[in-house]
């Protein structure tokens, strides 16, 4: 993207399409690599243990991933703008409890989900305003809101908890039922994923997020409404964390003041493993979703082949480093190739 600015106007028409196609291919390859690792892993496990991909097994794999995928999609949108939202775990926890309290009082399940999403939007708005107006690093701001929201949660919830007995049966059933092997939660998540992917790819607002992440200064000069876009990213991220809270409640049927504690780190790992660069401007929500699916699937694969769960954390860490290493190498190669092409074009033009 930055290269195009340097190239002479005349060739700008065909050069960017070529390099964008090349970039596209690299990014697709990156996502394909995660997908390949995932498929090989699942296939190997299936060969080892034929129960693994049974009807129940597939359903469990999808259910295990849904909540993380949702939050990772929101996080990816924020990370693409070269920011981060560390408060997602706290938002998930507090909105899950809010939905649970409402349901405990005999509320309507659909309205409970909306309450959770609304609460998420509210906290997303707060984060977005602090980051975009305050001009302070997102890492610090959202670390602050992480603690604040968790603190409010602890004071409000205290030692209370929501158990499966407090929830209407229909809501709990929604947490694990589905159309044959596809759980309702997975369908909902897929819809969110496709919508977010489409927005990022085909809408001006979505493209602006990438521009912001590539070079905030250039984006501002090019007339991108910086505050509005950042606010949008945070609001979407908060809303999805809130939605994830409601789904957490449906799936686990149990929420207390510690729910979602430390979840932000898992989410960030999933996003990075899925190829969304922490330096902003590149990656897709599909990649983030694949990263989330890969991380949760590892946690399912290890127990079903009888490997002790103490390995899970170490393996997650190795994957993370591997993903960052691959990203770095790819970035260097891409930059090199683009530079070479630009030079070739320029000399071809001069000749």
């Amino acid at each position: 993207m930055t290269v195009t600015a340097d190239t002479p106007q005349q060739i700008a028409a065909d050069e960017p399409t070529a390099s964008r196609r090349f970039l596209d291919r690299v990014l697709k390859l990156r996502a394909l690599a995660v997908l390949a690792v995932l498929l090989v892993m699942l296939a190997a496990t299936q060969i080892y243990n034929s129960e693994f991909l049974s009807q129940q097994g597939v359903k469990d794999l999808l259910l295990n991933a849904t909540i993380l995928v949702l939050v990772a999609v929101g996080q990816a949108m924020v990370v693409i703008t070269r920011n981060v939202d560390l408060s997602v775990g706290s938002v998930l926890g507090i909105s899950a409890f809010a939905a649970g309290t409402y349901l405990h009082g005999g509320g309507n399940p659909l309205l409970a989900v909306l309450i959770a999403v609304g609460l998420g939007v509210l906290f997303g708005l707060l984060n977005g305003l602090l980051v975009s107006l305050g001009q302070v690093p997102a890492l610090v701001v959202t670390l602050g809101t992480l603690y604040i929201i968790r603190g409010i949660d602890s004071i409000w919830v205290g030692s209370r908890q929501i158990t499966a007995n407090d929830l209407p049966a229909s809501f709990v059933d929604f947490g694990h039922d589905g159309l044959s092997v596809i759980p309702y939660l997975a369908l909902l998540t897929l819809a969110v994923l496709v919508a977010a992917g489409y927005y990022l790819r085909s809408y001006r607002g979505g493209r602006d997020l990438y521009a912001l992440g590539s070079s905030p200064e250039a984006a501002r000069l090019a007339g991108v409404p910086v505050r509005k876009r950042i606010l949008t990213a945070y609001v979407v991220c908060g809303a999805l964390a809130g939605l994830a809270g409601a789904l957490y409640l449906a799936r686990f049927g149990n929420v207390d003041s510690g729910t979602g504690n430390g979840y932000e780190l898992t989410v960030v790992s999933a996003v990075v493993v899925g190829g969304v660069a922490f330096t902003g401007g590149s990656g897709t929500v599909y990649g983030a979703a694949l990263g989330a699916l890969l991380l949760t699937s590892i946690n399912s694969v290890l127990p079903s082949i009888g490997v002790s769960s103490v390995w899970v954390l170490a393996i997650d860490g190795v994957l993370l480093l591997l993903a960052i290493a691959v990203d770095r190498i790819v970035a260097l190669r891409v930059a090199g190739v683009l530079r070479k092409r630009a030079a070739q074009m320029r000399s071809a033009h001069h000749a």
């Binding site: 499966a164 946690n299 103490v310």
Partner: protein, 360 residues
């Protein structure tokens, strides 16, 4: 040094004597206090079982973590007992379950406030020792409940149930449900959890009994007391051992996660689940047929017993030595065992017939 300690002890005695009712109780306390302050942190054998129960004492509860549902119930039981005895209750503590330094400073504060007794659930067996012994030198009685310190740092430990009872009864519960036949697994908390590992050792020992010859323990899995991980470990167990008949989960987080997973899967009702859980957590699963029976001690009774023990100590009726006994209201009489341990009794089994009587 020893003179200031004695003087401080005398002050404590004077204060307690001022509120005490019976003259005999006074004598008993004086004797114990002076001995304590001189000899340091060693339980003295002399106690007057007939001493009157003092009123107007202050017993402070210091749970592992405030706002933790389990400790809220336990401490609530402690308050009820103290109300009945005419003494007053207070609760202080850290909001994190692993803030040992915070617990130490709470003990020091309570020592300065000169409460009569401290009931503490220790986050760490050794870290509280110095400050607890300091408190005891100042005449404060120290009772541990739920989680013990080293025996030399407290007067009494009120244990929820003996590890042996807990381990063995869980196997008995599950074996009954699966007809003494088939493969079983254990879903524990962390691999390093001391409590759980002790119970699991007793489970394995119980399984050596010939009546369990057809019951086979195939695996111990660890869900790290995390809902998602416990879900996935349960899924792994069921995939790895398709013939699994039952699961024992000796952790309240593990059992409710496993129950929630089973309730929403094809295994509901086919794979039996038992272990340690709270009635509130498990009510839905017992009613929908996922779980037949599970067990736990009653945390309210645990807190209540800690209160009775603390008051009996402060009244001089017991000193913490083996063989002494004290009355604990309508729970009856308890006898102190080896190392100053008082055991609450066998765990309560909850089924769909009795679960609605328990609200915790």
């Amino acid at each position: 040094m020893s003179r200031t300690l004695t003087r401080r002890a005398t002050v404590v005695v004077a204060v307690t004597a001022a509120v005490a009712l019976g003259a005999t109780a006074c004598g008993g306390t004086t004797k114990n206090s002076s001995k304590d302050s001189g000899g340091g942190a060693k339980a003295t054998a002399s106690a007057d079982p007939n001493a009157a129960t003092k009123k107007g004492l202050t017993v402070a509860f210091l749970p592992k973590q405030v706002n933790n549902p389990y400790f809220t119930i336990a401490d609530g039981g402690g308050k009820q007992a103290l109300d009945a005895l005419g003494s007053s209750y207070k609760e202080v503590g850290t909001s994190s379950g692993t803030d040992t330094a915070g617990q130490v400073s709470y003990v020091n504060t309570l020592t300065q406030q000169q409460v009569d007794a401290i009931a503490v659930s220790a986050q760490d067996p050794g870290a509280l020792c110095t400050s607890l012994n300091q408190a005891r030198k100042n005449g404060i009685k120290v009772v541990t409940y739920d989680s013990d310190t080293k025996p030399e740092c407290r007067d009494l430990f009120v244990s929820q149930a003996s590890s042996e009872d807990l381990g063995r009864t869980e196997v008995q519960l599950l074996a009954e449900q699966i007809g003494y036949k088939g493969e079983i697994a254990i879903l524990s908390a962390a691999q390093t959890a001391t409590n759980q590992n002790t119970w699991i050792d007793f489970m394995k020992d119980e399984l050596k009994d010939p009546k369990y010859k057809d019951v086979k323990l195939v695996k111990v899995a660890y869900g790290n007391d995390d809902a998602q991980q416990s879900f996935q470990q349960t899924q792994g167990l069921l995939q790895q051992y398709p013939n699994l008949k039952g699961i024992i989960s000796p952790t309240t987080v593990g059992i409710k996660a496993a129950a929630q997973y089973l309730a929403g899967s094809k295994y509901k009702g086919k794979v039996k689940l038992t272990g340690l859980g709270t009635p509130n957590d498990m009510r839905a699963y017992v009613k929908n047929g996922t779980v037949d029976a599970f067990e736990l001690w009653d945390p309210a009774k645990l807190g209540s017993l800690a209160s009775y023990a603390a008051v009996a100590l402060a009244s001089g009726q017991i000193s913490g030595a083996e063989g002494q006994s004290f009355k604990a209201g309508d729970m009856g009489s308890y006898t102190i065992g080896k190392d100053g341990v008082v055991v609450l009794g066998k765990p309560t089994v909850f089924t769909k017939d009795n679960i609605d009587q328990f609200k915790f």
